[in-house]
């Protein structure tokens, strides 16, 4: 039997990081540049072995500054491109993440989050880079970030990341905690025809009529890549629709930066994914993402057994933040519980949107995920209050 080279259809016992690499390949990724870092190294190792088999390209760069630059270059050369890292590398990548935003370069950045700040806890999972994902590079921009909570989702959501990156011409993040990255679980890879992939929009006009940064109605400009005869100029400077620097015209800066934000904001309904469990009649809602959402599910079941009407809202899309969903939820629950593996990041967004509804935050850092009973205790306290 000849196996499909890109899509390893079947049931596998697979590590989250490896599932991420396989998801990328299934999505059509043909270029990977990276630098070794715990707990994301397995993605690079898998790509080093696999890229060459699918006529793709793997390169280990000299650092994460270079890795991020290389995937931008590869994307402009026409390849679907990805890099993977953890906190320290993610910090170095911020410079060129901004370049990818400004130049509207489709690419995927995987961050397998570990304990921080600085070198922190290389082998321990955390969720401390969520705000950095939104605000890490200088300037105003919107970003798409998805948070998987299983090895299966490491596969599925990596494909989604590529599809969003190609659709919106924006760097897109897979934001996984180190536990999910290192989790070995069953992963089901569907047949290739069942995997939906998206390709970037190409120009339909000849080169002399093409304005490389003139958006269509969806606010996304069609993308001509290098070598296709369009003589495209790309710059990180504020530029006009032709792509030429226009750095002192307030109108051009205003329109460009707002469009970069709006093309994500206006499509947030298409980007936002959530999972709901027993929320219909809930008095207490737990809002979680990544590994804590799994303990939260158990905690909600414990609460129901104890006669407390609890439910779970799991954020699959963290950025753009699912404001409408959380706002609507906060209008009919008595309290919200937010467990996170940081000192309080997404909870700030929840508090901003929930307004009057009390929000109970449960921080856990150090290298152990929340236990279900820890979350259950907070649900019980919230129910009594």
């Amino acid at each position: 039997m000849t196996m499909h080279r890109e899509v390893l259809t079947g049931k596998h016992l697979m590590q989250g990081d490896i599932a991420c690499a396989e998801g990328a390949i299934a999505a059509g990724c043909k270029f990977f540049a990276g630098y070794p870092i715990t707990p994301a190294t397995e993605i690079a190792e898998r790509m080093a072995r696999r890229m060459i088999e699918v006529d793709g390209m793997f390169v280990q760069m000299e650092d994460e500054l270079a890795s991020m630059a290389a995937i931008i270059g590869a994307s402009w050369a026409g390849a679907k491109a990805m890099t993977a890292t953890s906190g320290p590398g993610f910090s170095l990548m911020q410079e060129n993440i901004g370049l990818a935003v400004m130049t509207e370069t489709p690419c995927v950045v995987v961050n397998i989050m570990r304990g921080a700040p600085s070198t922190g806890q290389p082998t321990e999972g955390a969720q401390q880079d969520v705000m950095q994902s939104k605000w890490g590079s200088h300037g105003d921009y919107e970003i798409i970030a998805l948070a998987p909570a299983s090895a299966q989702e490491m596969f599925d959501l990596t494909i989604e990341c590529f599809n969003f990156a190609e659709t919106y011409r924006a760097p897109t993040f897979l934001l996984a905690d180190g536990f999910t990255g290192h989790l070995w679980e069953r992963v089901v890879i569907p047949p290739p025809e069942e995997i939906k992939t998206v390709e970037r929009k190409k120009p339909v006009v000849p080169a002399d009529k093409y304005l490389p940064f003139k958006p269509d109605e969806d606010l996304v400009p069609p993308m001509a890549c290098f070598g296709e005869g369009y003589s495209v100029h790309v710059t990180g400077l504020t530029h006009d629709e032709l792509g030429y620097p226009k750095t002192t015209d307030p109108k051009i800066q205003h329109e460009l930066v707002n469009r970069l934000c709006e093309k994500i904001r206006k499509n947030s309904d298409k980007i936002i994914r959530t999972y709901e469990f027993m929320l219909e009649d809930a008095d207490i809602a737990v809002i979680a993402y990544g590994i804590p959402s799994r303990s939260s599910l158990s905690a909600v079941k414990m609460a129901r057994e104890a006669g407390i009407k609890a439910g779970l809202l799991r954020l699959i899309t963290v950025w753009p933040f699912p404001e409408k969903k959380v706002e609507e939820l906060s209008s009919h629950v008595e309290a919200i519980v937010v467990p996170e593996m940081n000192c309080g990041q997404v909870v700030r967004e929840v508090e901003r949107v929930a307004k009057e509804t009390p929000v109970h935050f449960l921080s856990k850092i150090g290298g152990e995920p929340h236990s279900p009973s820890e979350i259950f205790e907070v649900i019980r306290r919230a129910a009594k209050a």
Binding site: Q15, I18, V59, M61, A66, W76, F226
Partner: protein
């Protein structure tokens, strides 16, 4: 006659984005001469501009990517070589030239330079060396000579400068040359040679910055600096780049290195064919 019509008469006009001229460079700056030599090299070689990409970083020379009519990328500061590596490896059919300044390529971007040279990625890197950061008003850089005055070395520079050709050769470049902007014909021929050769090629071009570096160090007008180049430059092909340090008395120019070595792309292609031959057996991956 409009300005653009005037520009169109230039024999190399078809290689330039005329709507972007006049350029931003100061009077007497050498960057325009480098652009001219580069365009002449493209013309002499009859390069297919649809498959040619120019990448530059930040600084005066960094603006060049926006002046040449082909696919071009004006990157973040220091990153043009890393970005060009991605372009070349993702589409090996493209020919890549990185044109930037000494600060961009050797201070903030120094790490990318040595590693691309070590990997022998197929690209031509041209460095306009004007001994300081011109665009930001003349600060000390990695090539600023000892004792020179810049805005950040008001009492004279106490940092030893890089000898760029030595650095490039040591890092593994297959072609290393140095010229001044006075040597327009030799520089053009050197660019042509580099563009036709496979692997990581490096050309340093000594370029006057009369308005900023020159003024602060009392080097005179552009023409005086060019005269000085004529007096102190010496062509020594095959000279040991380690000994080719630039001094106030002498600038050794010429082709220092011209060797053959498998490129990253060639070695990858070999590996690729080997794996393809092994066939699908390899695809039954163990987790």
């Amino acid at each position: 006659m409009t300005a653009i019509q005037e520009f169109e008469k230039h024999p190399l006009a078809k290689y330039l984005r005329l709507e972007r001229f006049p350029h931003i460079w100061c009077e007497g700056c050498g960057d325009g001469i480098i652009l001219n030599c580069f365009a002449k090299a493209l013309d002499d070689l009859g390069v297919n501009m649809d498959k040619f990409v120019v990448v530059s970083g930040i600084g005066c020379m960094g603006r060049v990517a926006g002046y040449i009519k082909c696919d071009s990328f004006h990157t973040t500061h220091g990153r043009p070589i890393a970005l060009a590596t991605g372009i070349k490896l993702a589409n090996p059919k493209l020919t890549i030239a990185v044109i930037s300044g000494d600060g961009d390529l050797f201070a903030i971007g120094g790490n990318h330079f040595i590693h691309a040279a070590r990997r022998n990625v197929d690209m031509t890197v041209i460095c306009s060396n004007n001994f300081n950061y011109g665009m930001t008003g003349g600060q000390v850089g990695p090539t600023t000579p000892l004792d020179s005055y810049t805005t950040t070395t008001p009492y004279g520079n106490i940092e030893h400068p890089f000898n760029l050709v030595h650095l490039a050769a040591a890092a593994g470049a297959v072609y290393v040359a140095r010229w001044t902007v006075l040597h327009v014909k030799r520089l053009t021929e050197s660019i042509k040679k580099a563009l036709q050769k496979k692997g990581f090629k490096f050309i340093e071009v000594i370029s006057p910055c009369p308005e900023i570096y020159g003024r602060r160090n009392k080097l005179g007008k552009a023409i005086d600096i060019m005269k000085r180049y004529r007096q102190i430059s010496e062509i020594r092909h095959g000279y040991d780049p380690a000994k080719a340090e630039i001094t106030r008395e002498k600038i050794i120019v010429g082709e220092f290195i011209d060797i053959e070595k498998p490129t990253y792309g060639e070695l990858l292609q070999k590996q690729f064919l080997m794996i393809q031959k092994k066939g699908d057996g390899r695809l039954k991956l163990r987790e």
